[in-house]
């Protein structure tokens, strides 16, 4: 093992032993892990029902690890949209990870390269836990890593189980699975609507999308909503 990597790893292990034990962090993460597992399973079921090959569904969870972005991309595919529009929709939702990456960067061990790799473990839930465990303006890096690794495992496992059981279900439309997407987006949206700004952004985003949808190609309504969201956020 090369020297710098070993140094980073020992730093990481030392950081792991510091004040809050891994076990305590995992205990705090358990209820969230359960929710992420079920979310992963529902993603797996719906993705297979939308005719994505099961292996690609699991691979997506392994490589992307972002529930709302994967769900958004899948929603576009299920509604008959193109692959490019689906990637665009998912990527737009993940833009926020640039901001969370900046916020957690200083709390992670190692050089920039290692930190940018470790930052892959940030999703909304692990980031929120690290902010809660850390000091103001300094999220707790160890909480981010332990929670993120735990949630990564259950996310992939949940997707795998969903993708295996998905084909048992049958005709997606008869089962109302097409309605599962807007229902899921509403369920993801609702907890975010705390505060006047968020409500304003949501209404603005929906209005922008509906205004653009009749006369622009797919993807543009979402881009418009993103711009309106950034504009109305303060």
């Amino acid at each position: 093992m090369p020297g710098p990597l070993r140094r980073h790893l020992s730093y990481l292990m030392a950081a792991m032993r510091a004040d809050r034990s891994v076990r305590e962090i995992l205990q705090a993460a358990a209820p969230i892990a359960l929710a992420v597992f079920v979310f992963g399973a529902s993603f797996g079921v719906l993705a297979v029902a939308a005719r994505l090959p099961a292996w690609s569904v699991v691979l997506m969870s392994i490589l992307v690890f972002a529930g709302s972005a994967q769900f958004a991309a899948l929603g576009v595919i299920a509604a008959g949209g193109s692959v490019l529009t689906a990637i665009f929709a998912g990527a737009l939702l993940n833009l926020r990870f640039i901001a969370t990456g900046i916020a957690v960067a200083r709390s992670l061990p190692g050089g920039r390269l290692l930190r940018s790799l470790l930052a892959q473990l940030s999703i909304d839930e692990s980031y929120a836990m690290s902010v809660r465990a850390g000091a103001p303006g300094a999220p707790d890096g160890r909480t981010l890593l332990v929670t993120g690794a735990c949630l990564y495992a259950v996310w992939v496992l949940g997707t795998l189980i969903g993708a295996l059981f998905g084909p048992v279900l049958g005709d997606p439309k008869r089962l109302g699975l097409d309605a599962a997407f807007p229902a899921g987006f509403v369920a993801l949206l609702w907890p975010l609507l705390s505060g006047r700004h968020a409500v304003r952004c949501a209404i603005g985003g929906a209005v922008a999308a509906l205004t653009l949808a009749p006369f622009t190609p797919p993807g543009i309504p979402l881009a418009g909503a993103a711009v309106v969201g950034l504009w109305l956020a303060r």
Binding site: S68, A73, L95, R115, L117, A187, L230
Partner: protein
């Protein structure tokens, strides 16, 4: 969806997500006024996704069983029901309305 197309979808989204998560440590500390704006992205995009899911082929609002499904899911979400409950309830409402009332 054909295998290569699905692979393109996965790799495209994965590489962009990787880049977005990886850039943070390489960027200087941006003024909080800039980073705080990104909190507006998720609500705006999710609301837009709900809206787009409710449009028909010509991009116009299309009233079908998805509308009551969304309303039921929103009410459940407001009552702090778990994600899976909202999704299953939404699908159930649509399936039942299709089966019982022959709505589209």
């Amino acid at each position: 969806m054909a295998g290569p197309l699905a692979l393109a979808l996965v790799l495209g989204l994965a590489s962009l997500s990787f880049i977005m998560r990886a850039t943070g440590p390489f960027l200087p500390n941006l003024p909080s006024a800039v980073t705080e704006r990104t909190v507006g992205l998720a609500p705006a995009l999710l609301a837009a996704l709900v809206a787009i899911q409710l449009t028909g082929p010509h991009g116009l609002l299309h009233l079908d069983v998805k509308v009551p499904a969304v309303i039921v899911a929103a009410v459940l979400a407001a009552l702090r029901a778990p994600f899976i409950v909202c999704v299953v309830a939404g699908a159930l409402v649509a399936a039942l309305l299709r089966a019982l009332v022959h709505l589209n």
